[in-house]
Amino acid sequence: MVVGFSIHTPPSLTPAQEEQATELGPSLVCGCESPQELIDQAGFSGLEVTDVTARFRRTCSAWLAAMKELEPQLRRELGDEDFEDELDQKEGMLIGIDEGLLLRSLIICERL
């Protein structure tokens, strides 16, 4: 059994939307095949995909709120560049979710 969470894009994005999703989300979010294709290639079956994007949004939002609350301490301990990089990532993720470009799912499959 293979089980895990994955951030991915919805099917049928335009090339421009894919580019935007890659800028806002994880670097490889558009870099490989769909979960179904990956599962098939690896010889697994019984794919179950459960959308957990709403929970993912709450998680991003919680990170972002905490980062803003602890900003002076984090800037001191992580450095400005690292802090801003992390903040940009979280903000980008939220924008990507809200614009429907980024999804997160629980993906389960089993060996054939």
């Binding site: 059994m1 293979v2 994955s6 990170w63």
Partner: protein, 136 residues
């Protein structure tokens, strides 16, 4: 443009080098507790993975892309399975090893520096494989 994997691993390694105290404080503020989370897999999701991992045949679990050992340690603990944790950035694996040891899981866990695209294990070694935000 999609960056190459080496860049991604280097970036991850830099994240794992961050001061753990600062990150734990941030995690507590965001989620009420510090478990070693530095991505998006919250405790409820880790518990779900543990439950799913123990639901089928008995056997060891492979934690693919373990990072700093979260949620691997919770899965090893809750599912009561041996767990092999792999990833590429060694700095993260050192934290993972410490996280397992801190929970008295050293005898049931193993940490290996390995690329998930060339796994150093025979087929059928594991009863289940878990991953969190690795394929993106």
């Amino acid at each position: 443009m999609i960056p190459d994997l080496e860049d991604i691993f280097e970036r991850q390694a830099r994240r794992y080098e961050r001061p753990l105290d600062a990150w734990a404080e941030l995690e507590k503020r965001a989620f009420g507790q510090a478990v070693g989370l530095n991505g998006y897999t919250i405790v409820a999701e880790a518990e779900e993975l543990a439950r799913l991992s123990e639901a089928k045949v008995a056997g060891p679990v492979l934690d693919l892309g373990t990072g700093r050992g979260w949620p691997g340690w919770l899965i090893a603990e809750r599912a009561e399975r041996n767990l092999v944790a792999i990833d590429v950035p060694v700095v993260g694996l050192k934290h993972a090893r410490d996280a397992f040891a801190a929970r008295d899981l050293s005898l049931r866990t193993q940490v290996i520096a390995s690329d998930g695209m060339a796994l150093p294990f025979a087929s059928e070694t594991f009863s289940s494989i878990v991953h969190t935000d690795v394929f993106c």
